[in-house]
Symmetry: C2
Subunit: 504 residues, 2 copies
């Protein structure tokens, strides 16, 4: 058995343990009775420890060294990429001393717990010392990883969520978007103000009927019931494994949009997992290409396709057929005004697609400053308020609607936020390329057909696995690295076009 | 850290991996889309391998040797028992060479697959060569374990399911029951023939309403919703973990008895898991005391309590209130005739409580002969027919209703069958002891109250964990080792008493 063969077997075991953890995580959110929580935490910790042990075992290092010397994997592009990813995962796992990993896990857990309560009371001071500790440990972790990976400390953190793009690539893209937004947002608001107010969908929307419709739409998009489930959880997500995807949503009986668009969003994630290259299953190269790539797949389904005019024109009568009542609110023009409303809000997860990047840009800048030490935790609330005022012209009235709103930092996740907007931009870029390649893509959307788009994504994104970094994946699929022009063009067409006729 | 402290940490990790596997097993049966099956098999195999690796690691042997030398655990009875169980588990796991374990797993899996198809066609010849291989490997495994455990080969197999009772203890108990049955069964049949035929419950019993009632009854028996779930699966079972028990059932809309009694049965298993001693959680001594002990807990709830006259008198109106229709079929006398009917059938899982042991006695004798080599696999169908004729006076018309009916042997499980009847006998013995200790137990059952019985079981069985072997557990709880007299007395009172008035 060659060193590379031993490595593929070992990484398959690691991935298989990860699959078990993913199903257990889904169960904890969707099925588990509350009394099982403590035991589940232990189960996930033990599995994580066993997977970490397999990855950092001396045999792994030996085989990685040998496989390198032999360049036995070099003949095949996929194997070469796989070996590089194995080495990359091993480097990340071994660069940080075990006691620092443990201290970080403990600090994250303690801080997140305090944060839950502090957010409710909008009490930043209560959680501040815990966040100081988390940030200090994150900085040590980033410093430990940076030289091993040949990246800056913040890039080493970002790399944990999305490889193949650095802060130096992202900063100018975000700066350009800030300028775009400064011009576009007021114009979109003016245009919106000239339009009639949207009419809310009337009536009660029973959760069971919403769920049936969500299943129907998800299946129409190509998610097979033999390989997926849709269930309910407090926070929608996509989990499970490539042959057994688990998506969740929640139902608001006064408003079906949340569940409908949420399930279409998660279906985008799920289709990505389903389309990963089966011959490379359980190998690093067979995984999804990162969090930004993943978000591009949910947003190209939800935002680019299902909130487009042609799709809404098809969806309206479907909804009306399901829920009954007066037909007028289901007219596409009303749905587009209802479900594509821009506004300057305080809360990221409630933001529309035009202002959402401003929320991310703020966090991207602040978290770099926190990690570098340029911003003290004590100064975070003020910096947040100033940033919101500068980016969106609004100032949150309290920290609950400011720097306390997201779990990420309080749980130790730094470098993740850019993924959301990189994904949104990539989704627009991929959609523009798909429109060039696939005839009548929008006409198909007007018949509720996502198949042609999903087929294109399967070829150009899903089946590529994790072979390429973010910018290389985009280059291969669209002919260029990340380019915010397509996202701006999309927003311009959707929110700034003249006339009151709905646009794609 | 002492060797014993290292061992408790290690065994806690092993148990925690087992918890993960148990939840994943539940998910596979109750939730998983069919396309997830192959990946789930891999996940369970990898987790089993990791747990086995922890158990058989050289460090475990070193610590077991050290802990022995120090007798550091000897001060506390529970720790001493725990250390003995650790050593026992380690001995079982290391006695069998890894290649034999693997060959057995492969042979079981191949045989079970062929059996599924062969049973459908009643084609013993098709599966026979696979069973020959399974039996040959089982014999090698038993031979490997026997000297290490100081048991006979068949007892070494039985010990894997229930320690603390040997074939030499079981054989006379079963022989006595055979004699009892020869006399009792014709008398029960005669008595039954003198009674009116039971009237089937009329109407349709919607699965959702059955499920609601099952949840209600399970909660009444003491299973807390914060620590348990009830779901649906093809084959009812109890899984999960002590703080997060998962029970399942299936619903026949023409007959609610299957689900009702099935859920009460699984509730008995679940209450045992819930009542295990929390301070010893995840330690061998904190587990349930074996499969026969477990079955005693399901049967004392289902058979001893919920099919008793007082409970049926309470349950009838509950059922009638839930399902409506004419009241007469819900009268206790009719329910007892309907749900306590004896008969000579071919199928174990459909057997009543009086004839069920005959099915087990047959298997107990045949599997000993297979393992010893006294019976060739080729002669199994004939030996089965002869055995059924001798024990119950009926001859199965084909092997599907004969030696092909159960999965156990075809999946490599030898030594398990006695547990069913040992459990049934222990349930009667425990019930008799509880009746002596708890005033008005039956009056409580007449008010649908299982609490006093469950409280007694918690004290005398559940909270004892795995501290004692089967006979010692019974001795501590009832004052004597396994004694079939209580089971015979129970059957005599229920099925042979004079008059047509219902009896407990």
């Amino acid at each position: 058995m060659t060193a590379y063969a031993r490595l593929t077997a070992r990484f398959a075991r690691i991935a298989t343990v990860g699959e078990a953890s993913s199903v257990l995580g889904w169960d904890a959110a969707a099925m588990m009775p509350p009394g099982g929580g403590a035991a589940r935490g232990d189960q996930l910790a033990v599995l994580a420890g066993l997977a970490h042990g397999l990855l950092t075992a001396p045999e792994t290092a030996d085989d990685l060294a040998q496989a390198h010397a032999q360049t036995e994997a070099g003949d095949d592009e996929w194997d070469a990429a796989n070996l590089a990813l194995m080495r990359h995962a091993h480097t990340r796992a071994t660069a940080v001393p075990a006691d620092l990993v443990e201290a970080q896990a403990r600090a994250n857990s303690a801080c997140e717990k305090v944060w839950r309560d502090a957010r409710g009371r909008s009490d930043f001071a209560a959680v501040s010392p815990y966040l100081v500790e988390v940030v200090s440990l994150v900085r040590q972790t980033a410093d430990a990883m940076a030289p091993a990976l040949g990246l800056s400390p913040y890039d080493a953190l970002m790399d944990g969520y999305q490889r193949g793009i650095a802060a130096a690539d992202v900063a100018p893209v975000f700066a350009r978007y800030e300028a775009f937004l400064r011009d576009a947002l007021p114009r979109a608001e003016e245009r919106q103000a000239r339009q009639p107010l949207p009419v809310p969908l009337p009536g009660v929307f029973p959760a069971d009927r919403q769920e049936g419709l969500c299943r129907h739409l998800s299946a129409r998009a190509g998610l097979e019931a033999a390989h997926a489930r849709l269930d309910r959880s407090a926070h929608p997500f996509c989990g499970g494994t490539p042959t057994d995807v688990r998506i969740t949503t929640r139902y608001d009986e006064a408003d079906p949009a949340q569940a409908l668009m949420g399930v279409l969003h998660e279906t985008g994630h799920a289709l990505y997992e389903r389309g990963l290259p089966a011959p490379h299953a359980r190998q690093p190269v067979g995984e999804a290409a990162g969090m930004a790539a993943h978000e591009s797949q949910s947003l190209i389904i939800e935002m680019q396709s299902c909130r487009s005019d042609p799709f809404l024109a098809w969806l309206g009568p479907e909804l009306h057929g399901t829920f009954g009542g007066p037909a007028e609110p289901y007219a596409p023009a009303n749905l587009s005004r209802l479900w594509r409303r821009v506004g300057r809000g305080f809360i990221r997860v409630e933001a529309d697609e035009m202002t959402y990047p401003a929320h991310v840009i703020l966090r991207f800048r602040l978290e770099q400053a926190l990690v570098s030490g340029d911003l003290a935790v004590a100064d975070l609330p003020g910096a947040w308020r100033d940033g919101m005022a500068a980016l969106l012209g609004v100032t949150p009235p309290d920290d609950a609607r400011g720097c306390l709103q997201d779990i990420h930092w309080y749980d130790g996740a730094f470098g993740y936020f850019p993924s959301y907007t990189l994904g949104a931009m990539a989704a627009a870029q991929l959609m523009a390329a798909a429109r060039r390649d696939v005839a009548d893509l929008d006409a198909g959307l007007g018949r509720g057909e996502l198949g042609p788009l999903v087929g294109w994504l399967r070829l150009h994104v899903h089946s590529q696995g994790n072979r390429l970094g973010f910018n290389d994946l985009l280059r291969a699929a669209t002919g260029k690295p990340l380019d915010p022009a397509d996202f701006e063009a999309h927003l311009t067409a959707r929110y700034l076009a003249d006339g009151s006729a709905p646009q794609a």
